[in-house]
Amino acid sequence: MSVNRTKKSRNRCEKIRDELRQSLHESAKEFQQLNDKLSRRSERLAALHRISLAANDSSLDPERVLNLVLSEAVELLKADSAVIFHLGENDVLHCEVALGECVEQIKPMTLPLGQGIVGHVAATAEAEIVPDVEKDPRYRLVVKGVRSEITAPLLTQGRKVIGVMNVESKLPDAFTGEDLELLVMLASHVARVWDNATLYKALRNRNRELSESYAELRKTQAKLIRQGRLAVLGQMAAIVAHEIRNPLTSIRGFAQRISRRFPKGDRGCQYCHIIVEEVDKLDQVTKSITDFARRPTPVPRLTHIDQLLDRVLLIFKEEANNKGLDLIREYDTNLPEALIDADQMQQVFSNIIRNAIQASPSEGKVTVRASVHDENLLVAVNDSGPGIPQDVRQKMFEPFFTTKTHGTGLGLALAQKLVEGHGGRVDVESLPGNGATFTVVLPLDNNRNTNTTSAKSTAEQGDE
């Protein structure tokens, strides 16, 4: 009896033990599974955190962030490839970045909205799992061997579809609902990065536009200031003409009349002549001012520029000789005839060459070059002076700016005005200690090189 009871109870014990063992084994298995799941989750969370950090790092290039998202996606989802498509303005999806196998095949890929699985997700804005692409009629074969995929739309904050993210595997039924959730989260990061990048790009473009407008505005402002000065100059010329020339007329006339009361050769007679001479000098100054304000219309004629330059050089030959200066001419052969106002251009080159001679030291040299470049006639005057300091360069074309003791400050201003009247410009190059080069650029295009608008001076439009 007791033996039986003992045997029975041992059997029961063994059974309980087996059951316990079994249950322990199952618990361990379950625990293992839970542990795996947990570590997978924490792995995914860590990845999401990394992506989130990258997405918020504005110093990172958006493309780098997208590549990071793709590589995390491939790894976490144990996929074979991942692709991000961008939905263009014409409702066509094209591959933006791709990672994994057969990238080269995927990259040139485009899909109209609504076509293929990717196009369908873009159209419906709903994420999808396709467990077996072979059984899905929408599937379009691009990469051989793909069996299953998950696809999520890229949505802006306003829920607008801007693209699609797609992850593929060569195994059938490779993705779970949890995987799809992860993909949706990744897609939301991609969308935000993209959104920000687009905003950033728009902002940068806007910034560039702004700085361009600003530069334009500065130019216009400078021009307006110059024009303002010119207008003032025009008015001043009228005042100078009337308010100075009237008294000059009296002074000169009465001096002439007084001189007749002295016998010829008398000191008094001499004095009167001096007065007349000085008045004429004053009149020359007023003349240079009114000439400047006049801005006569250019009367263009076909002109041999080399002959014109030679004429100007001839005028300065004596002055240069006295100073021991070399006047060097370097003209290109076969210079074309230019359609210019020869009188005005003679004035322009005279003013520039005079400055060059005055700037050059004794025994120095002044070189005049004439050439044709890009449909423009270039006349460059180079001196061997000390060069032009920056502060002078900024002002030297302004009327009345001068560095000379006896100068009206109108020479360069007038030269520039006349050249601009021909549709050209005056460029200046100067390296300190290396002289200065003034280059007159005149367009050879006949349609452009006459500027007949507003040819009358302000002084003469209303005043006389």
Binding site: A238, A241, H242, R245, N246, P247, L248, T249, S250, I251, R252, G253, F254, Q256, R257, V279, D280, D283, K287, T290, D291, R294, P296, K456, A459, E460, D463, E464
Partner: protein
């Protein structure tokens, strides 16, 4: 004796020209403004008018137009302080006998007057 009407708002210039032209043997009347000149013209038509262009009130060119309404052939010399203004007054040019540019040389004044009326 030929009669000249001088029109200028500058008294000193009127004195200068009057003395010079009187000495040269002309009878000279002066007017300090356009309206005054037109009034004088109503009473006595001279052989020549020397007319300043820039004057306050009535501009010299306006005075010229008004004189021409009644006296088509009266010789008129315009006096200007702006050189080169002729380019811009070609319309007026046909109506005047000559120009004087200030500061006026007295020898030139005599020559121009002589050329106009002898």
């Amino acid at each position: 004796m030929k009669h000249i009407l001088l029109v200028d708002d500058e008294d000193n210039i009127l004195v200068l020209f009057e003395d010079e032209l009187t000495e040269a043997g002309y009878r000279v009347t002066t007017a300090g403004s356009g309206p005054e000149a037109l009034r004088l013209l109503e009473q006595d038509v001279p052989d020549l008018v020397i007319l300043d262009i820039r004057m306050p009130g009535m501009h010299g060119v306006e005075v010229l137009e008004k004189i021409r309404e009644k006296h088509e052939d009266l010789p008129i010399i315009m006096c200007t302080a702006l050189q080169g203004m002729r380019d811009d007054f070609t319309v007026v040019e046909s109506k005047v006998s000559g120009y004087l540019t200030k500061p006026v040389d007295l020898d030139e004044l005599r020559a121009k007057v002589k050329e106009a009326i002898g």
